[in-house]
């Protein structure tokens, strides 16, 4: 490999002063951000699979009209578990896991600012997940992931499952807030020399905004969940209209958290796209400032739009109009991002590697979700399509595009750094193709199901019109999607054993995590380079070429370490 021969490189490996800790105790006692990051990612991926199985069970039930496979009670429990799992136990903490691993590496830090707090964040997350899933053995919650009152109060949901849900919200909430504070402090204080705000990698920008959003939004759901808890058990009446409380208050509090939560879930995904596209287009990101600024703008506007989830609730018309306009407004910075990404590809030399494919898929899927969001922001249209399968389709396009596909792009992009092995390219492409096909098959038709009048969260439906056919198409699609996920799991398992050795920088990427070995040593870097641009690795490679006197290497060279033949 060409770069390997250019040996006198500042790529210095660490030499451990003491023997590296081994065994399972080293994992549970670790404060290393990389190990914590790996634990985050593995844990959340397990929850992703559990949530996926719950989704498949629901799709099986809906595969036939008037189906009796699953009882209404179990069905309600399934969608409650599915929604809660995917939001609280998969997407948000998966982004925290990726940030945990890569944020210090990308800014040239040796760990997070508060390593022990970091470990606490992880263990609180795991505790939340275990408490929540333990309810499976008693009474799982069944009031939906939004837990609207009065349905979620002690009269209508007397079981302990609702309390498990409250406990989960608290534990994962504290976990997220502690993690967010840690990310913020780390970014603010531990950047490499020369890394000004204008040279911060865009993924780090999105994590910064993710952290701020969590710090503002999570306390609101924590307060609401506490009020629900005291309503349920300690005789308060926050949400009880018979005693001066208000069920609409719950909706306001929940969505004041719930809408920023959407951006907590998708903004880091946007950051991943902004990192991956320039690497595989061999071209700088188009409009760095606009992309960073639009992230901040989306976050700010994200706090002004919560009531668009409540267009059908009894709220004043002035709010309807205001929220419609603010929701329209948020499409502007989002559109700016997408156009900047396309401009990044424009006149580049695009290499069709799996991370790029997942990013392009993410943009496509998110674009569909973003555009259907315009219909939902228009409140007279929302009155027709809200709470139907149209919304189910919309939110899945948003989150599969903005979060799941970008997480898969991140897996393919960063797996070599974490493990030192490349993921199979063939299996990666297969996984991408199946997942894209699965998403489109499952969810495009759900718009039509919703337009035909089928509400969400129903365990059965009458076969009016073509509802049976449409639902069967959707069910088939969900299994294609699951198959695509399975292929990536196989790919990971296979590459851990027989994957091609990656080397420090298999993609010829732009950011500092590629400066160190794969996997990085405990202290990340022996020498932290001085950062002179937003693409420090480009500068370093250029410097190496200059010093070694080699001919300038064309940007389009495919690193040999990455040419693995898939199955």
């Amino acid at each position: 490999m060409a770069t390997a021969q250019l040996a006198p490189v500042p790529q210095v490996t660490a030499h451990a002063a003491e023997r590296r800790a081994r065994g399972w105790t080293s994992w549970i006692t670790t404060t290393d951000h990389k190990r914590i990051g790996i634990m985050y990612m593995v844990t959340t991926f397990v929850f992703f699979c559990l949530g996926g199985v719950e989704a498949l069970m629901m799709r099986l039930q809906l595969g036939a009209p008037d189906n009796t496979l699953i009882t209404p009670t179990v069905y309600n429990q399934l969608f409650t578990m599915h929604g809660t799992t995917m939001v609280f136990l998969f997407v948000v903490p998966m982004m925290a896991g990726l940030a945990n691993y890569f944020l210090p590496l990308m800014i040239g830090a040796r760990d997070m600012a508060f390593p022990r707090l970091n470990a606490l964040s992880y263990w609180l997350l795991l505790a939340g997940g275990i408490v929540f899933y333990a309810s499976l053995f008693w009474n799982p919650p069944e009031a939906g992931w939004v837990s609207f009152v009065p349905l979620a109060n002690s009269t209508y949901s007397p079981g302990g499952g609702q309390d498990a849900w409250i406990y989960l919200v608290h534990l994962t909430g504290i976990s997220s807030i502690l993690g967010a504070v840690n990310f913020y402090v780390t970014i603010a204080n531990m950047r490499a020399r020369g890394m000004s705000w204008g040279r911060l990698p865009l993924f780090v920008w999105t994590i910064l905004v993710y952290a701020v959003l969590i710090i503002f939004a999570m306390p609101v759901i924590a307060a609401a969940a506490t009020m629900l808890l005291t309503d349920r058990h300690f005789g308060t009446h926050f949400f009880d209209p018979a005693n001066g409380g208000s069920p609409v208050l719950w909706q306001h509090l929940f969505w004041f958290f719930g809408h920023p939560e959407v951006y907590i879930m998708v903004l880091p995904g946007f950051g991943i796209i902004s990192e991956v596209l320039p690497v595989f287009a061999r071209k700088p990101i188009f409009g760095y400032r606009a992309i960073a600024a639009s992230t901040v703008a989306i976050a700010f506007l994200g706090f002004l739009t919560w009531a668009h989830h409540m267009f059908t609730a009894p709220i004043p018309e002035a709010i309807l109009v205001f929220v419609m306009l603010s929701s329209y407004f948020i499409a502007v910075p989002t559109g700016v991002k997408i156009l900047n990404w396309i401009a990044t590809l424009w006149r580049g030399t695009v290499e069709f590697r799996t991370p790029l494919l997942f990013c392009v898929g993410a943009i496509t899927v998110f674009l569909i979700g973003g555009i259907s969001g315009i219909f939902l922001a228009t409140f007279p249209i929302d009155w027709q399509v809200n709470e139907t399968y149209f919304v189910v389709a919309h939110l899945h396009f948003v989150l599969l595009g903005g979060s799941v596909f970008t997480i898969f792009a991140a897996i393919y992009y960063w797996f070599p750094k974490i493990t030192g092995k490349m993921l199979g390219e063939g299996l990666g492409r297969l996984s991408f193709a199946l997942m894209l096909l699965g998403v489109l098959t499952t969810f495009l038709i759900q718009h039509v199901i919703g337009l035909d009048g089928m509400p969400r969260r129903v365990y059965e439906y009458d076969n009016v019109g073509h509802l049976e056919l449409y639902n069967q198409i959707s069910t088939v699609g969900s299994f294609i999607l699951a198959l695509g996920v399975l292929v990536t799991i196989i790919n990971v398992a296979r590459s851990l054993k027989v994957g091609v050795v990656a080397g420090p920088d298999p993609w010829k990427a732009n950011t500092l995590e590629w400066f160190t070995t794969s996997p990085p040593p405990d202290n990340n870097f022996d020498i932290v380079p001085v950062v002179r641009s937003v693409e420090p690795m480009k500068d370093i490679r250029r410097e190496i070429e200059r010093r070694s006197g080699a001919a300038p290497v064309s940007g389009a060279v495919v690193p040999t370490g990455a040419t693995q033949v898939g199955v």
Binding site: P247, T312, F375, E387, V448, G453
Partner: protein, 280 residues
């Protein structure tokens, strides 16, 4: 051919055809859909073009462009303009979706009652002449109850009611007063317009005006518990005269049933000699 076209359009658009507000929503949806499709095709097409036109080839060198302020400002403004246009269209349509028309002259006589003073609320939309047939919709686990005008007493007692199926007169503006007696439900009959939550402690409002007799189906649209999927609502529109007949008959049935219950209670009380069983 026309049938095929309308069937294709119906595939992509909300249910409509029962009431003018649903029809207007449908047409607003279609305008939005056209704009949305154009944007999608342009953006997705642009991305796919960039991907394949500029894929890595031997000898190709990527242009090192870092941005273009004029271009970026341009598309930011363009996006804002499109959304502004959409907002203008929405506001233009809003009146016909939100505000009910007057009842037709041949509408039901019950709709001549002035309902402006029924509830003092800005959220309640009334026809220009302030006259409508007001029906109270009560959501409860897991059935809809409808209370019609025609109470015997000023506090509303003795009003005719029905469950699950609402019967209404055609050509008459019907305003709905949506409430709940337990958890949050959502009233929705797609062909008669949008859905509105029934929240305990709150009143929510909507309306419809059906021109031709027919039956329109809907169901509760917000999770209300284990029976949510079976919380059906149907609206049966009949000519005004038939409606008046039905209402009188319904009232008679309820009065008879109350009478029977009263007799049964009296019998029960005389048998036990207790006399504690009161009219509920």
């Amino acid at each position: 051919m026309g049938h095929l076209l309308s069937a294709t359009l119906a595939f992509f658009t909300p249910e409509s055809g029962g009431s003018s507000n649903a029809n207007q929503t449908d047409s607003l949806y279609k305008i939005t859909l056209v704009i949305a499709l154009v944007i999608f095709v342009l953006v997705e097409g642009g991305m796919l073009y960039a991907l394949f036109r500029f894929r890595a080839r031997k000898g190709a060198v990527a242009a090192q462009i870092r941005g273009n302020t004029r271009l970026e400002v341009g598309w930011t403004v363009a996006a804002a303009v499109i959304l502004l246009a959409l907002a203008v269209v929405t506001f233009a349509k809003l009146d016909s979706i939100q505000n009910p028309p007057n009842s037709s002259p041949e509408g039901d006589k019950l709709a001549s009652a002035d309902v402006t003073r029924l509830y003092a609320s800005d959220a309640r939309k009334l026809p220009p002449n302030g006259k409508a047939l007001n029906i109270k919709v009560i959501g409860r686990q897991f059935i809809w109850q409808y209370v019609y005008p025609g109470a015997d007493e000023p506090d509303g007692l003795g009003a005719p009611y029905s469950y699950e199926q609402m019967v209404v007169p055609t050509k008459t503006t019907v305003t709905l007063d949506i409430v709940s007696s337990d958890v949050v439900h959502s009233w929705w009959v797609p062909q008669l317009g949008g859905k509105f939550q029934a929240v305990p402690g709150y009143h929510n409002y909507t309306w419809f005006k059906i021109e031709k007799p027919g039956v329109f189906k809907g169901q509760c649209a917000l999770l209300c518990g284990r029976g949510h999927a079976r919380m059906i609502a149907t609206v049966k529109a009949v000519p005004p005269a038939q409606f008046d007949e039905w209402l009188a008959y319904q009232k008679k049935l309820i009065a008879e049933a109350n009478e029977q219950a009263k007799l049964a209670r009296a019998k029960l009380n005389s048998q036990t000699g207790a006399g504690q069983v009161e009219n509920p």
